[in-house]
Structure formats: structure tokens, C-alpha cells
């Protein structure tokens, strides 16, 4: 490996702070091969695991960033004006969950799912940079389509959308399935009867 690749990566991530750098940017800036960068990132990460280290490496929204370790939170919160971290309301979280899993989605589809008007929650989330307009639906209305942003990934500590926890499975098979199967069989039988 290049002599001080670890140091280079650390310096770059330090300088870029919460902007972070993507893998390919790191590769370009350090002029190292992909494997080397990968190895260096892994080494950095395991180095940061040591107790005497206050920061760690995290991949958020597709970029690598240095962040402080969770166990440092208490100390750092003494620096913060309002130590209780801002958190989203239940309504916002619900809307965000639906947008995240169903994107792109229109307001009307979202409201149908929730059963309540959601204009305000959408506006709040857009203002927080967590969702954005990402196009228009086909059709006459050309309704606005909403999707999540990189800030959404960052806010929830996700690398990418694939990292979203899987949606809870439907609890059981729908009872209709039996009926449908039955109906199918019935109609088949019926057809046979008729054709016979």
C-alpha cells in the first residue's frame, strides 16, 4: 500500500467534514487503486475502534465521513446550545416512511394511504431538506412526485436507500386468496362443465 494512504484519507475526510467524499473521489484524490483505498478504509475503521479514539468512519448517503462516536455524545452535547436533539414528529416520520418506501409518490396517493391530509407535513419535510419534488406524474393532473434526498439518508445514518429496514411483512396470507383460488377452480370446473 502507498506509504501514508491512511493519513491522506484521514486528512481528506477531516477537511471535508460533513460533506464527506465518495469512494471514487477518495481514489482520485489519493491517486491510489480501488483495492488499496478499500483496504485503507477498513484499516482506518478498525483503528478508530480503539477506545482512545473519539471519531469513527461512517458511510452516509454514498460518501465517507468522519463522525464522533456515539459514546462521545454526552461530552459533545455540552457544546450544543439545545442538548435535546431535534426529532421529527410522528406525522413527519409517517409521511417520510411512506415517501421513502413508495417513492416517487404523489400527495394524493400518500394521503390515501394515511387517511389524513398531509400537506403540512410534506412542506415541513421539504423545508428540512429531507424530501424533494422529483418530477411530475403522467396524466392530466401532472401531480408533483415526491422522493427522499441525500439529506434523508444522512439524517437517518443510511448509506443508500437499500439500507432502509425492510418493510414489515404482511401479517398473514390474505384470506381472499383462498376464495380466489376457489373461484378459479370453480370457474374452470364450470367452463369444463359448459364445454362438455
Amino acid at each position: 500500500m502507498k506509504k501514508n494512504l491512511l493519513g491522506q484519507i484521514e486528512a481528506l475526510l477531516f477537511v471535508t467534514g460533513d460533506d464527506g467524499l465518495s469512494f471514487s473521489q477518495l481514489q482520485f484524490l489519493t491517486e491510489a487503486g480501488a483495492e488499496q483505498v478499500e483496504q485503507a478504509l477498513a484499516e482506518l475503521k478498525s483503528r478508530y475502534d480503539g477506545e482512545a479514539f473519539g471519531v469513527t468512519l461512517k458511510e452516509l448517503a454514498g460518501v465517507y465521513q468522519l463522525v464522533t462516536k456515539p459514546e462521545m455524545a454526552e461530552t459533545i452535547q455540552k457544546l450544543v446550545e439545545n442538548p435535546t436533539p431535534q426529532s421529527l414528529s410522528q406525522a413527519s416520520l409517517e409521511v417520510l416512511a411512506i415517501v421513502a418506501y413508495k417513492q416517487p409518490i404523489t400527495r394524493v396517493e400518500l394521503e390515501d394511504l394515511r387517511g389524513v391530509k398531509s400537506e403540512k407535513a410534506l412542506a415541513t419535510l421539504a423545508a428540512k431538506g429531507l424530501i424533494q419534488e422529483c418530477g411530475r406524474a403522467e396524466g392530466t393532473g401532472r401531480a408533483i412526485l415526491y422522493g427522499t434526498t441525500d439529506e434523508f439518508l444522512n439524517y437517518f445514518g443510511l448509506k443508500n436507500l437499500e439500507e432502509l429496514p425492510p418493510l414489515p411483512e404482511e401479517m398473514a396470507q390474505e384470506p381472499e386468496e383462498d376464495t380466489d383460488l376457489f373461484m378459479t377452480k370453480f370457474q374452470e370446473a364450470f367452463k369444463e362443465e359448459v364445454n362438455a
Partner: protein
């Protein structure tokens, strides 16, 4: 039977229904419509008193429940044998509601997963990108940005400001005594040729300094070193210096 209804506790009629289903330990696939309708009605009656914004949405659901209830109450049609076909065609009137509830429940659970992620992420702190403008050539704004990128930039700045604020406050919060402030107030008035607008005498944004400045102004007024006047309602107060010196020996807060 009385209910303690927390209005904010529900995110809408579907949420309320899920709550009832859970509390009554009902099978979501076999909802006793009559029972749940009664419970639902009692709840929204209690909530309506509080003039919910979403009252209309709760009422729409009430109507739906009543419609389903009336359908299920219809006597089972014992049709002739030829009609057996249609009987199978007839859907359970509860089906649509059930599938809506199940769909909604999925996202409600997903929302609580997000809540956990939010908490985990909230304890990780980052730093601002270092200011590289010294090393930078002037013209680097050649990229595609949209209004949301800009908003994002603004958010980051505010988040950072939150971290910085207490530090700067600590630095600024030097002990400023009223006596000192009285002196500098008089000096400041002199620099304004003996007359200044009220706000011009409060150059600092720091609240602690502002409070001390205000108290010293009051003290100066009491000692008739300065006079304060207002030309008209709502116009700014103007402060005039009456004496070039003020007695230092008097205790600022002593009884007169």
C-alpha cells in the same frame, strides 16, 4: 364507559382504528364491525369537542364504518341455486378497509424503525468542512445546483451554528459590571456629541451585555446624568447627556 382520549395520540382515523383493534384484541382480518363502530364513534365524539382539524377525515371514516356495518347486518341472502355465482362474487364489505389498515400499519411500523435510526444518528456529530477559500481560485461555481442544494447548504450552516453558539457566548460573556458600563455609556454618548438613539447605545448582541447596559442606563437616568425622550409614540427613544461627569462614590444599587 369513559375514555381518556389524547387527541394528539392519533395520526388520523386509520391510526385510531388500529389503536382500537389492538386494545380490543381483535383479529384485523375479522373485525367485529358493530363493536368497533361503537367504540370509534365514542372516540370521535370525545375528540370532536376539541375541534380537531382532521375532524372531517374522522367523520368520513365514521360514515364508512356505518356503511360497512349496515351491509353486514343485511340478512344473508339465501338465493336460489342459479344465484350461487353472485354470492361468491359478493365481497366481504370489510375487505377494502382491512387492506387499507394493513397497508397503513406497515408504514406506521416503518416509521417507528425510522425513529430508531434517527436516535442512533442523532448522537453522531460531524464537523464543518474546513474553509479552503484561501487556497481556492475565485471562479469555482460551475456545477449544477438546485434550490434544494441551497437549502441543504443553509441547513448545514445552521446545524454548525448550533454547535458554535455556546462557545462564542462563553467567550463574549466576560463580566461587564454596571459601573464599567455606565462609564462606557457616557463615553459613547460623548462620541455621539451628547445625543444618540436608544439602539445606538447597545452595540452588542449578547444578551448578558444588553442587560447590563440597560441597567446602567437606568442608573444614569436616576442620577440625571442622562435624559431619555421620545418625540412621538413608536418613534425611537433618544438619549441625551446632561452631565459630563457622574459621581463614582455613590453605590450603584444603594438606597438613595
Amino acid at each position: 364507559m369513559s375514555y381518556e382520549v389524547k387527541v394528539d395520540a392519533f395520526e388520523g382515523p386509520l391510526d385510531l382504528l388500529l389503536h382500537l383493534i389492538h386494545r380490543l384484541e381483535i383479529d384485523i382480518y375479522d373485525i367485529p364491525v358493530s363493536q368497533i363502530t361503537t367504540q370509534y364513534m365514542e372516540h370521535i365524539r370525545a375528540m370532536q369537542v376539541l375541534e380537531l382539524n382532521e375532524a372531517s377525515e374522522y367523520l368520513v371514516m365514521a360514515a364508512t364504518l356505518l356503511a360497512i356495518k349496515s351491509k353486514t347486518l343485511l340478512p344473508v341472502h339465501e338465493g336460489e341455486i342459479d344465484e350461487v355465482d353472485y354470492e361468491f362474487d359478493e365481497e366481504d364489505p370489510r375487505d377494502e378497509l382491512v387492506s387499507r389498515l394493513i397497508e397503513y400499519k406497515k408504514y406506521k411500523e416503518a416509521a417507528s424503525e425510522l425513529k430508531k435510526l434517527e436516535n442512533d444518528r442523532a448522537v453522531l456529530y460531524s464537523k464543518a468542512p474546513a474553509d479552503l477559500s484561501e487556497l481556492q481560485q475565485p471562479d469555482t461555481m460551475d456545477y449544477d445546483a438546485n434550490a434544494y442544494d441551497m437549502l441543504g447548504a443553509f441547513q448545514k450552516m445552521l446545524r454548525r451554528k448550533q454547535l458554535r453558539a455556546p462557545l462564542s457566548t462563553r467567550v463574549a460573556r466576560q463580566e461587564v459590571s454596571i459601573k464599567e458600563q455606565m462609564g462606557s455609556m457616557v463615553e459613547r454618548l460623548k462620541s455621539f456629541k451628547g445625543r444618540a438613539n436608544f439602539s445606538e447605545l447597545f452595540p452588542s448582541d449578547d444578551q448578558a451585555v444588553l442587560v447590563v447596559s440597560f441597567l446602567s442606563l437606568l442608573e444614569l437616568m436616576k442620577r440625571q446624568v442622562i435624559a431619555v425622550e421620545q418625540q412621538k409614540n413608536f418613534t425611537e427613544l433618544s438619549v441625551e447627556l446632561r452631565k459630563e461627569t457622574w459621581q463614582d462614590e455613590e453605590e450603584p444599587f444603594g438606597p438613595n
